[in-house]
Every structure is written in C-alpha cells, then in structure tokens.
Amino acid sequence: MRVRIEMVGEDDPVEAVIYCRKVTPEVEELARQFGQGKNAGPQPTFYKGEEQYYLTLSEILFFETDGDGVFAHTEKDSYETRQRLYELDAILPHYFVRISRSTIANTLHIFSIQRGLTRVGLVSFRGSYKEVYVSRMYSNILKERMEERYLYEKT
C-alpha cells in the first residue's frame, strides 16, 4: 500500500482519505484508527441472547430500532446492539446513513430504492429479502450518499 502525506494550509481541514477497491475489515480498522467515524468511539457490540457475536460493519445491512432495542440486520439474521441509534449514528463509518427516525442503512448494500406515492421510498438490499422504508425527511441525504458511492466505486 502506498502512503502519501500532503500538507494543508492553516484554514483547511485536516483529513485522511483511504482509496481502496473494497471496504474490507482491515480498511474499516484503518479508518477507525484515523477516526474516520464521524466521531471516533467504541465499536458496536452484537448480541443474541447472552451470546456475543463479532461481526464486521460491512456485513450489516441496516440498524433499526424496535421497541426498546436496536437491532443490526445482516442478510438473513439480526443481532441486538447495546448502543442507541443516535450513538451508532455518531460512530458508524460514512457509508452508513440515517434513512428514517428508526433506521440507519449501509449504502454499500443498497440495491434499489423504490419511490412511493407518498414520496416515502422502499429500500431493498443486494442478496437479501429484507426491506426498509426511507422517510421523506432523509431521502435527499440518502440520494447524496448513493451518488457519492457511485462516484467512489467508479474510481
């Protein structure tokens, strides 16, 4: 891997950009070390009953609030997390985006967004039967992030 350091001016923000072909656990770890999460902090922990699971964030399709708990959904399963949704929103990588009051989705797994009559969209994920709704309030930010992903994948 080539490492390049560029100096910036006093007024410019200090940032680290990782160019990669695929978001692997190693890349995620690197990003976490750089504090790529909106705020660097503890990583989510995943549970099923009393059992703790060690998942990589790239496996997660979306996080959703259900009752008192927050659940992380993979293609065919779901796990409870101990963090609240707003805490996850703060620590998750940039490719996760809030799409409704109760859901944070992984843009890397989004396969389609179906617009409804009420401008609420139905989001489906690649390789999974699971679907979630994106609310009006968050549809623009999701669109922006999807365009970012498209540009990112082209490079």
Binding site: D66, D77, S78, T118, V120, Y129, K130, E131, V132, Y133
Partner: protein, 246 residues
C-alpha cells in the same frame, strides 16, 4: 358452507341479478334497480356496522345517497363530498372504537389474552404506524398502520398471537426470526384499503380463514409434512394480503 359465505353469496347473486335487470331494461321505470341495489348496500352496511367495521358501514350508505340523489335533492357536484364524508366518518369512528373491536375479536378468538385491555400505540393519528410486543418472549405482537408504510421484523421465542391492522397503508411483516409456541399461533389481519405482505418461513403451514370482500389473499401454498400450523384469520376489504415464503 359457512353462514358468512352464504350471506356474501346472496349479496353477489343479488348484484348479478341487478346488472342483468338493468341490461334488459326491466324495472327501470319503477326504480326497481336502485331500490334492490339500495337494499343490498344497506345489508352490507348493517353487517359491517355490526362487526364494528365503520368504513365499510358508511361507504355503502354514501352510494345509496348517490343512487337516490334526485329524490333527496343532492346536487351532483356534492356527491364526492358525501363519499369523502362517509370515509372520514368511518375512519374516525374506527379510531375511536378500536378498543371495542379488539375486545370483540379477543372474545371471539382469544379468550383471556392481553388484547382485550392492552395498550396500543399509533392509533388515532391521521398518519401513524406503530407496533407493540407484549410479554418477555414476544408472545403477542401488534402492528398498526394508518395512511403510511410500515415494516416490522417480528422477534419471538414463543409466538402465540399477532394482530395486523392496516388502513390505507402498506405493511410488510417478517416472521423469519420467530419460534412458534408449541400450542400453535394465530395471525389476525384487519386490512382495509391496504396491502399486507407477510414473509413467513417455509416450515409454516398456514391455515387461511380470512374473510375477503373485494380483495385477495395470495401466495399460500399447502405444505405437506409435519409443519408448524399457523391460523390466518381476519378480514380483508378492498385490500390484498400476500404471503411470501422465505
């Protein structure tokens, strides 16, 4: 044959006879067709109101008002207002009397369970959706949606009863992470002008007992073998319930 089927059979036969009479031009001079039509609509209305289905109770009354608009002096331009008024009345009363309807349902199908007096969220709003999961093991699950879209992933280690109430909305309910109670489970669907999609495991053997009027229940396949039995009951009016096996 069930009493309910006979009633709706007669209603549909009556509708067919009316259309035939109209096509043949019989009785038009005596208002025979509107009169018989009104009687049929009134029957639908009364049955629906008795079942505390207010939307289906008031809509036929607005159609009766349309049929007799000349006699009651209703201007043509106001007829849509009558339909909308009937719809709003129906929805409003449904919102007010949902507890009574639930208590009746609980008494009919689930004596002694929590629904008769349970809390409920998301009701009474113009556009609302909500779910309630009762008991530690998630035995009772309640999904409500009015004028909106809603997705519910049901989690339960001992699922007994599920109630899905959809009015003018789209609801998707996933049962892939559920374990059915050894006593079996019941899913009650009350679907009015709504689309409900149930994602169920292939190991479920659904017993469809839903009463359908101007709607459909699609996708149920008969399972062979010793699969878990789940009763699917409730009512569909101008809506669709679709089963997707996963």
């Amino acid at each position: 044959m069930r009493k309910h089927s006979i009633f709706w059979g007669i209603i549909l036969l009556g509708g067919g006879v009316l259309l035939l009479l109209n096509a043949l031009g019989i009785g038009t001079q005596f208002d025979l067709v509107p009169m018989l039509g009104s009687i049929l609509l009134l029957a639908i209305s009364v049955v629906s109101l008795v079942q505390l289905n207010f939307v289906m109770g008031f809509l036929p009354l607005s159609v009766i008002a349309y049929l007799w608009r000349d006699n009651i002096g209703l201007p043509d331009k106001n007829i849509w207002l009558v339909f909308v008024a009937a719809l709003l009345l129906g929805i409003g009363l449904s919102s007010i009397f949902w507890k009574a309807k639930r208590a009746r349902f609980a008494g009919r199908h689930h004596r002694g369970d929590k629904w008769g007096s349970g809390d409920k969220c998301g009701h009474g709003d113009w556009s609302s959706a909500g779910t309630v999961t009762s008991s530690e093991d998630g035995e009772f699950v309640d999904v409500d949606s009015n004028f909106g879209e809603h997705v519910k992933y049901v989690r339960s280690t001992n699922l007994k009863k599920v109630k899905i109430d959809g009015n003018f909305s789209s609801i998707k309910v996933y049962f892939d992470q559920c374990q059915i109670s050894p006593e079996g489970a019941t899913i009650y669907v009350d679907c009015n002008f709504a689309g409900v999609i149930l994602y169920v495991p292939r190991t479920w053997n659904l017993d469809n007992q839903i009463h359908v009027f101007a709607g459909s229940v699609d996708g149920i396949t008969l399972s062979s073998g010793d699969y878990t039995s789940v009763a699917l009951i409730g009512e569909v009016h101008f809506g669709e319930v679709k089963i997707v096996y996963i």
